[in-house]
């Protein structure tokens, strides 16, 4: 089967890393690439600062025309901008040796568009944050969590300016989604010649060792680690010590409601580590 990567590019600082990671993976998997840029409409209704509340002759058609004009002017700019981004991305990909590249620009919400387009993709690559969020450094884009929760496909989240991974760390907690992550890594040629580390947070006792052993049987070449501490800290420090690596983990095992109350390990991990994170549902 021909592998296919859906890469989401935007004008943010993560865009470049998304393209480099896409090139790296596309070359290793000899996959085709679809470059996706989504034009999100700014809310023209909110853009008008008119609280006069007076409605007069022809207000409905007049208002409709005005809103359409605002949207049209912004839309034209956004399309020009999007074309430039996609063209740059394609040039960069081809320069890196990727041959099958398609460009795609769509109107709509980022989340809905990705879900629409991912059907025939093996992997979705997206920046850690979108272009709207350049101010809060330790924050992940609001779209990422929604995409990951709703998506059926593995998603690779690019961090800023990361170099290409020379190893991979698999976060393992024995859960169903973590086991799927292990299976995925075992099956994928992407990881065939990378040094693998598999890490579990907790006391180095029998129960943890037994659980980890089941993962090791499927990944015989991986180096096992059992480190005491909270998952976020343990995984982050291992990743830091390895340098150029990537993190593979099962994503969002819990319901949105529970996450709202107790927070999510997945979100915390994406936020704290500064390497690409591959999320497997």
């Amino acid at each position: 089967m021909q592998r296919h990567i859906l890469a989401c590019v935007d004008p943010s600082v993560y865009g470049v890393t998304v393209i480099d990671l896409t090139a790296w993976i596309a070359n290793r998997l000899s996959a085709s690439v679809e470059l996706l840029h989504v034009i999100q409409r700014k809310d023209a209704v909110a853009a008008r600062h008119d609280h006069s509340g007076a409605i007069g002759l022809g207000v409905k058609s007049g208002l409709l025309e005005e809103l359409a004009r605002i949207d049209q002017a912004e839309g034209k700019l956004a399309i020009e901008h999007g074309r430039a981004i996609l063209a740059d991305a394609e040039v960069r990909l081809r320069a890196a040796g990727v041959t099958e590249v398609k460009q795609l620009m769509r109107h709509g919400s980022i989340v809905d568009t990705i879900l629409e387009r991912e059907a025939n993709a093996t992997l979705v690559i997206i920046g850690k944050r979108g272009s709207d969020h350049q101010f809060a450094p330790a924050h992940i884009g609001s779209n990422i969590e929604r995409v990951v929760r709703a998506s059926e496909k593995p998603i690779l989240i690019a961090s800023r300016g990361a170099s290409m991974p020379s190893s991979a760390v698999i976060a393992y907690d024995g859960s169903a989604s973590a086991n799927r992550a292990v299976d995925r890594v075992a099956a994928s040629p992407l990881f065939s010649d990378l040094p693998l580390h598999i890490v579990m947070a907790g006391k180095d006792d029998d129960s943890h060792r037994v659980r980890l052993a089941s993962a090791i049987t499927r990944l015989p070449h991986a180096t096992p680690h059992i480190i005491d501490g909270s998952p976020e800290k343990v995984i982050a420090s291992l990743v830091e010590s390895l340098g150029d690596t990537m993190l593979v983990m099962g994503a969002y095992g819990h319901s949105p409601l529970r996450t709202l109350i107790v927070g999510s390990t997945t979100t915390a991990m994406i936020r704290t580590v500064h390497v690409p994170v591959l999320l497997v549902r």
């Binding site: 209704v45 006069s52 007069g56 929604r146």
Partner: protein, 494 residues
């Protein structure tokens, strides 16, 4: 279950704009609620409670974020006879039943019927509504002192000229405040809101309407409830369409239908009259930057705050200032381009629009106007389509076979022309009717084909029908009699 993300989008995508817009809208709700309570012959609190409750509930359960629903002119003008003959408790009961009917309509997907309401009918509906709102202001304008006229004119001047100065604060609010200050400190004698009836001083509470639970009660309120439900849904779905267009987003019409039902059902128990979405106020909302559920919710809550906390002040608002606001709403609701278009559009659509307006203005019932408009536009459509029908025929060289070539639409309106297109007096051995480019739409069309074939047969000709397309063939196969035994005898019976 809606996701957290969609909840956030529907509530918090633009909180500042929504809250401001909600406040502006609340101010525009007061005149309509008070004005139409008076027209319906009930205390202003019936309309104000209704506006609060309907706005808050539709914000929570409606299908069109950013649309404003409250006690409306369209419903108020319907219920006057009911209140006059049976009292206000029957109005509450009718409102509850109206809600139940709308919820059922939601489950039956009656919102889909909107696709049969043509653009001309909608324009007529909007214009009729604007005229109703304007006419409702006339009692405040007839036989009153010159001060009243001066204040209405001054109010309109402030509303339309103040935005040239600044658009940061709502000009209807400026007009209301300025005219109130003028009457209170200038000692001008005009009607005030307090003169019109009791204003609420407390929160609304739940109670069961004091009506006998009998068959007679149901018979009394059911016709009113049905009309109220129909008019309410028409205006709501139409307004939803307008807000859809303005914001370039889509809405869930089925959820809106049920949401309107729930809102009216609950409002009846709170001592409020029925309501629906409001075109004018929804446009004000969008124009002021409101597009989410938050602005609708704020409008309802702020309205309640105004009337309960600032009640004593509200009762001193001069009626002319509210009349000015309602004239503004009426002007904003009216489709002025439709007058310009009267000369440009096909005469049929102008007739449909004007008929809708005329029926509503004479009956004060928007539902009857829409029914008249829909019937008329259906007739016009049928008369246009029946012209799309053509027959050509050729006689074979030996003069024994006649081939008729039919094309176009055959249905009830064109059946007579279909039958008349054949020459039954001509003596031929064989008749071929090629209908490959024609479509038989209904039983009348099939009946026409039967008639033609049997007439030819009785004249001694063999008839062959070729090229019945699939849809026509099923209909012909199921309902035609010419191919069934005893066909020739059956013709005599028809």
């Amino acid at each position: 279950m809606p996701s957290i993300a969609s909840l956030r989008r529907e509530w918090l995508s633009n909180p500042v704009g929504d809250i401001l817009a909600g406040i502006v809208v609340a101010l525009a709700l007061i005149p309509e609620a008070i004005g139409f309570s008076i027209i319906a012959g009930v205390d202003p609190k019936v309309g104000l409670y209704a506006s609060f409750s309907i706005a808050v509930i539709t914000a929570l359960v409606g299908g069109r974020p950013g649309m404003i629903s409250a006690a409306t002119a369209a419903i108020a003008v319907l219920v006057l006879p009911l209140i006059r003959e049976h009292g206000v408790q029957f109005l509450f009961a009718a409102t509850i039943l109206m809600g139940i009917i709308q919820i059922i309509a939601g489950f039956l997907r009656l919102d889909l019927l909107m696709q049969y309401v043509s653009r001309s009918v909608i324009t007529g509906f909007v214009n009729a509504l604007a005229i109703l709102i304007f006419m409702a202001q006339l009692p405040q304008l007839i036989g009153v002192s010159w001060e009243t006229y001066a204040m209405v004119a001054g109010g309109l001047a402030i509303i339309y000229l103040f935005p040239l100065l600044t658009k940061a604060i709502p000009s209807p609010l400026v007009a209301i405040v300025a005219l109130s200050v003028l009457t209170i400190f200038g000692g001008i004698k005009v009607n005030t809101v307090g003169d019109m009836g009791e204003l609420p001083s407390a929160l609304p509470y739940f109670f069961i309407p004091d009506v006998p639970l009998t068959w007679e009660t149901l018979q009394t309120i059911l016709p009113y409830s049905l009309t109220m439900a129909a008019v309410g849904l028409l205006e709501s779905l139409l307004t939803a369409q307008i807000v859809d267009d303005l914001t370039d987003t889509s809405s869930d019409k089925r959820r809106e239908t049920k949401g309107q039902g729930i809102a009216n059902f609950v409002t009846g128990f709170l001592g409020g009259m029925g309501g629906c979405a409001m075109i004018g106020q929804s446009v004000i909302n969008v124009k002021s930057g409101g597009s989410t559920r938050l602005s609708t919710l704020v409008s309802g809550l702020f309205l309640l705050f105004l009337i309960v906390v600032l009640g004593p002040l509200v009762s001193r608002i001069p009626m002319p200032s509210l009349v000015a606001v309602m004239i503004m709403v009426s002007i904003g609701t009216f489709s002025w381009s439709s007058i310009k278009n009267l000369r440009v559009h096909p005469w049929q659509s102008s007739v449909v629009m004007l008929t809708t307006v005329a029926v509503v203005v004479t009956t004060h019932d928007l539902a009857q106007g829409v029914i008249a408009g829909v019937l008329l536009s259906g007739l016009f459509f049928a008369s246009k389509v029946q012209r799309m029908f053509k027959v050509e025929s050729i006689l074979s060289e030996d003069g024994r076979t006649r081939t008729y070539d039919m094309s176009g639409e055959v249905f009830f309106a064109s059946t007579d022309r279909f039958v008349a297109a054949f020459d039954f007096k001509e003596v031929v051995d064989r008749v071929v009717i090629n209908v490959s480019r024609a479509h038989f739409w209904d039983i009348s069309a099939v009946g026409g084909l039967d008639k033609v074939i049997l007439k030819f047969r009785r004249g001694g000709a063999e008839v062959e029908v070729i090229g019945l397309n699939e849809a026509s063939a099923t209909l012909v196969g199921r309902f035609a009699i010419h191919d069934k035994p005893g066909a020739a005898d059956a013709l005599g019976v028809h």
